[in-house]
């Protein structure tokens, strides 16, 4: 699903740039959750796992786009309904297999989304047990955030 041909090189570059930005932001989210000490807390822990899976998914998608569109190292086409023809520009078989592997990016995006849903569900369950704290509307009342904001 990730590797779909783009209409133009500009479109491919824009999507690649978006994936790069997405990877960086998810890495920041992971570090941010770790720094806040939330990695052991139910809810935020799952959201961190989700961010890690999203990083890998985005890296797979990025690689698939990179191999196929701007670089032209890989040319893939469908032969019939159940066969795929993949051709490497330099005749490198490993590039073909890398391309084949990164085309299975759904194996990463699905767990990422599952963990996000799990994290949100747990935070929601905790929020139902804890009344809103009027004194701390910015805080993560479901987890007892430290006052120093770390």
């Amino acid at each position: 699903m990730a590797a779909r041909p783009h209409g133009s090189p500009v479109g491919a570059a824009v999507v690649l740039f978006s994936h790069l930005l997405f990877i960086i932001s998810m890495a920041i989210l992971t570090g941010w959750i770790s720094r806040r000490g939330d990695t052991v807390r139910s809810g935020w822990r799952e959201i961190r796992y989700s961010a890690i899976f999203f990083i890998h998914w985005s890296a797979f998608a990025f690689t698939a786009y990179l191999l196929e569109d701007p670089s032209g190292w890989i040319a893939a086409s469908r032969i019939g309904s159940w066969t795929l023809y993949i051709e490497s520009a330099g005749g490198h078989a490993f590039l073909v297999w890398i391309y084949y592997l990164v085309r299975l990016d759904q194996l990463l995006s699905v767990p990422a989304m599952v963990f996000l849903v799990l994290g949100l569900a747990r935070l929601l369950a905790q929020a139902k047990l804890t009344p809103p704290d009027e004194n701390d509307p910015a805080g993560d009342r479901t987890e007892g955030v430290r006052e120093d904001g770390v």
Partner: protein
């Protein structure tokens, strides 16, 4: 290289279906979390993150399923005019999700600081309101404390002056009294016991001895000599005093309760003098409560101040406010003439001051009086420091 597309197709189709379900679930949960507490920053962040992510994966998955359904073997899989639209939407949603993370991770700490400060301000405001509400009472309390201290200081000054005066008078009177006693005893030696002259001389000697006792008390009040300190348990001294007094007031049926703090350890003090003070206070209490009265003696260790508080409370008639000021003055008494010299409390005051302590009184007429003796806790190391 020709490879089978089945794994990719299976993963994509099943994955797309699952992604639609979980993406929508993520948006629903994030929305519910936000609705529970719309001002919660974590909830806002998760909603803003879930919406672009969920939308991205829902659209892409739905798009893929549609492609696979309507263009199963097309290459490229969708009409070309759709590519810029798909790229644009993908970029917008990916960048949107990334921006949310970057924005919130940067502003989170700032928000935390702002809200921490706000909470501190709220707490301070609440404290200020409370303070303002009780300001009048606090001012009154402080004023009373200051007035009490002022009175105590004035009393201490006055008693010091009286003590100096008494000391001089006692010294001047003591010598003539000694001469009177001596000559009376000499004259008595020449008289027959039982004669009128002998009995007259006995009366003179008796009154001279009374005068001598009063002078001795005056000297005790004024004396600034080194107390004879030994390591003693104040609780033993209290028990001795109670025993002594109970023997004297047995007929009055007075109950003396004690509440002694086990934390009070033996300490250095002038045992005889402190016993004298306690006997004096308990005797006064007995006289105040009359028959069937209750006296309570408490001790309490004030560890930080290194002091022991001995509280003698009675439920007797109390002391009039006008009299409290003069209660420690020598020769001041509220008892009928002939029943007291008015030196007991003055002497007690002198003894306690001489032991480095303090004696306080509070009383409510009709409800009783409380005398509090505050003694420094002296150990072998600092016993001489309070003399």
């Amino acid at each position: 290289m020709t490879v089978t597309a089945i794994p990719i197709l299976l993963v994509d189709i099943i994955g797309s279906a699952l992604m639609i379900v979980f993406s929508l679930l993520a948006i629903v949960y994030a929305r519910r979390l936000n609705q529970r507490d719309p001002e919660n920053l974590a909830g806002i962040f998760l909603l803003w993150l879930s919406v672009p992510l969920g939308t991205l994966f829902t659209l892409r998955s739905a798009g893929y399923i549609l492609e696979a359904t309507f263009f199963p073997a097309a290459q490229p899989p969708a009409p070309e005019y759709l590519s810029p639209l798909i790229d644009g939407i993908t970029m917008l949603l990916l960048v949107g999700a990334a921006s949310v993370i970057l924005f919130f991770s940067r502003t989170w700490n700032m928000f935390r600081v702002v809200f921490t400060e706000r909470n501190m301000l709220r707490r301070t405001r609440k404290e200020l309101i409370d303070l303002n509400r009780t300001l009048k009472e606090r001012v009154q309390e402080r004023t009373d404390t200051l007035l009490n201290h002022e009175k105590q200081m004035a009393r201490a000054d006055r008693l010091a002056s009286i003590g100096q005066l008494s000391s001089g008078i006692a010294h001047e009177i003591n010598n003539p009294l000694g001469v009177i006693q001596g000559y009376t005893q000499l004259l008595m030696r020449d008289e027959d016991p039982g004669s009128q002259r002998y009995e007259d001389l006995q009366v003179i000697l008796k009154h001279a001895k009374n005068c001598k006792a009063i002078v001795e008390d005056l000297r005790s009040f004024a004396k600034r000599s080194l107390p004879e300190k030994t390591e003693t348990s104040i609780h033993d001294v209290i028990h001795d005093a109670i025993l002594f007094v109970q023997n004297r007031v047995r007929k009055q049926n007075i109950r003396i309760d004690t509440c002694l703090d086990d934390a009070v350890v033996p300490m250095y003090m002038d045992e005889k003098k402190i016993r004298q003070v306690l006997v004096n206070l308990v005797m006064n209490a007995c006289q105040a409560v009359g028959e069937n009265g209750v006296i309570e003696i408490q001790t309490k260790l004030d560890a930080p101040a290194r002091q022991v508080h001995i509280r003698v409370a009675d439920d007797g008639c109390g002391i009039e406010k006008k009299d409290i000021e003069r209660i420690f003055d020598p020769f001041f008494t509220t008892k009928p003439t002939g029943e007291g010299t008015g030196l007991g409390l003055a002497v007690s005051y002198g003894i306690i001051r001489n032991n480095g302590g303090e004696i306080l009184v509070s009383s409510e007429p009709g409800w009783g009086s409380v005398f509090t003796v505050i003694l420094p806790v002296l150990t072998a190391g600092n016993a001489s420091g309070y003399s």
